[in-house]
């Protein structure tokens, strides 16, 4: 049997063993799909048709002017007409931030050319935009022009309308990244578990060289990562995640780069962390932390400068950059740098890991 066939057999067997383990399948596929589904529903529609801000209105005037004012406000607010006591109670309890009072002399003040209104608010200051809308609505009573509160138009850098699809893709991709690195770190610990059980020694005593075992181990990590990503993307795609909004290639490049990088990290850590339990512990926390600090779950432009700088050393940051580069910027041209860095980290991780694993052979 040639070395290549032995490597293939060992990597294939590792894959088969994972597929037969209900526990592994649960962590690698079932849980990520469930979490992705939840995240997709949370993020879904975030950019689809903004709802109008709510406004409580107390009508103490009851004239035609007051009715006209409420009608004008309805074009810019979700208006709810309430009693003054109810409005004050809601504000006092903090259930609302703002209430508008049309006082008893409101109609007269409009006729006199100076509409008088009152704004009740809680501890928070009144939002300037809300106040500007109210002023415009009141002014419309004087001018006779009904106010038009049209939304801004949001476009992606490529000129497409923003409809929440990319936010959904980005959020679910972050989840997949976390579960991919988790699975690969746990897979990386297997070689040490086998050493502890003695099965590794038995394989070597059968004439298989240690480097073949290491290569098969690295191959199995890569294969599991790629298969996991492919299955998760397919299943979540069937469930409605619009992965292909900008075609297949931006996604393929991003996934290849990210999985290769994650595999590199897993092999690199497996080369130096020899206790399976320690690797499993890393698998429990490291991916989530990398995702948070890499901007996979929250926009990094709200983070402090130091966190933004730190993110540049984080492979998850470059995975997200590859995704946005491919889908909302200049495609492959924007992906080139992030992908190069991801592959570089992956290669370094694999080289370092293999060196570490070779060292463990001697000890």
């Amino acid at each position: 049997m040639s070395a290549l066939r032995r490597i293939r057999a060992m990597a294939g067997w590792a894959l088969l063993r994972t597929a037969r383990s209900s526990g592994d399948l649960f962590w690698i596929l079932v849980l990520p799909v469930l979490v992705s589904f939840l995240v997709a529903n949370m993020l879904g529609g975030s950019g689809q048709g903004k709802s109008m801000p709510e406004l409580m209105v107390v009508n103490e005037d009851q004239t035609a002017y007051a009715s006209a004012m409420i009608e004008a406000l309805s074009t810019g607010f979700d208006v709810q007409v309430v009693e003054r006591t109810a409005a004050e109670a809601e504000l006092a309890r903090g259930n609302a931030l703002l209430a508008l009072v049309l006082p008893a002399a409101f109609g007269e003040s409009v006729e006199a050319g100076r509409p008088q209104i009152e704004l009740l608010h809680g501890r928070s200051a009144v939002k300037r935009e809300a106040e500007a809308r109210i002023r415009l609505a009141a002014q419309s009573l004087m001018t006779g022009d009904s106010p038009v509160f049209s939304d801004l138009i949001h476009e992606t850098p490529r000129g497409n309308g923003v409809n929440g699809e990319f936010e959904q893709v980005r959020g679910v991709f972050g989840v997949i990244l976390v579960f991919c690195l988790t699975a690969l770190l746990i897979r990386g610990a297997v070689i040490h578990s086998e050493r502890e059980k003695g099965s590794l020694q038995r394989i070597i005593s059968c004439g298989v060289s240690y480097w073949e075992v290491v290569v098969a181990h690295v191959m199995s990590i890569l294969l599991i990562g790629l298969l996991q990503a492919a299955i998760l993307l397919t299943v979540t795609g069937i469930l409605g995640i619009p992965w292909l909004i900008e075609g297949l290639w931006p996604l393929i490049w991003t996934v290849l780069g990210s999985v290769f990088c994650s595999a590199g990290i897993a092999v690199g850590l497996a080369g130096f962390v020899r206790k399976p339990s320690a690797l499993q512990m890393l698998a429990g926390g490291l991916p989530s932390l990398l995702a948070m600090l890499g901007g996979a779950f929250f926009p990094l432009d709200v983070a402090p400068a130091a966190v933004q700088q730190l993110a540049r050393m984080n492979p998850f940051y470059w995975s997200m950059e590859a995704l946005s580069g491919g889908m909302v910027y200049r495609g492959l041209a924007s992906q080139a740098v992030p992908l190069a860095l991801l592959f570089l980290v992956g290669v370094c991780g694999i080289v370092i890991g293999i060196q570490g694993l070779r060292r463990t052979e001697l000890t």
Binding site: A138, L152, P299
Partner: protein, 372 residues
Amino acid sequence: MQAARQLITIISGLLMRLVRDGSAIVWLIMLPLLIIFVLGVTVQGLFSPDFTPARPFRVAITEASSDAQQHLIRALGSQEDFFEIIPVSDLDARRMVLDREVDAAVLVPNGYPEEAPVVVSEPGQAVGSILEEFIQTERWSIAAVDSAVELARMEVASEGPNTDAGDSPWLGLSAFEYYAVGLTVMFVMFAAHHAMVFTAGDRESGAYARVRAFGVKRETYLLGGWAAAVAIGVAFIAVMAGLTRLLFGVAWGDWLGWLVLTAVTAAAMASVSFLMSSVVAKSSTLEQLGSTVFMIMAMASGSSIPLHVLPSWLKSALAWLPSRVALEGYFQLSHGAHSRNLAPELAALGTTSLILFTLGWLISSVRARGEA
């Protein structure tokens, strides 16, 4: 008397197993603390009404040809902490965003302010929504610039707990305060679940049979497992409250309210876990089921993903989740509420505990029929 002694032995035995498990301690204590620190630092901007970006956003904007356009450029330019304005042509503005030379572009049409401007930016980034707030305010202000409207502002004093949020007690908290509570409530579920996984493992290893052979009743063992889960939950919340206060200065509020809420929260989480253990006997499956249910509960109730960003339908649809009720109780305490203000939360969590525990007990009893 003997049963009580046996109960205490079972509870302390399960507690000690967790304490001696070094990896569980790291997983339950170190990891949430690390995450609180990371999130507290990273997303503070999302929680603060006085947010200013680390550096002004670079914004390319259409060169002005009308007074209204010039007014908008001046208004945005005056917000030096937020924006660095670069006037360019429409075409250049789009190209600069595409080449990532700027963070966003604003294309102001000739019909402005009646016609809506276009904001070009990467979806999901904060710059787009911050620009929107500024531009829309300016837009309506320009339209009402000659307004004779007399507007009087009156602040309504808050009542009850020191909160500006009422039914939304998560508002007004810092990221550290939010996540200290959020992750404590999330991880207390995992902590309590450890006890039930241990008892399931005892059944598989034969330890349960041996304990029973020594005269311990099935009921005592069941109750011991549940009580150990509660004890672990209380101890966990106490440790997290102490550490987050020490490390991040998080105030957990009135100590009496905190104590009662902690006890019922731990009981509710232990009861969720107890019900699961009555249905699933295999320890590995029970662990996986717990991880799934608790992770989803944590996400849907706002422990890991802030309630500020959850869709309103999800917030109202899942407000009954015990983890959400506990979360809101702790948030109210952080805002200065007293134990008497927490009656609805305490009642909800207490009832949940009772129902789930009874259900779990009944299922366990039915499944154990025929057991000697």
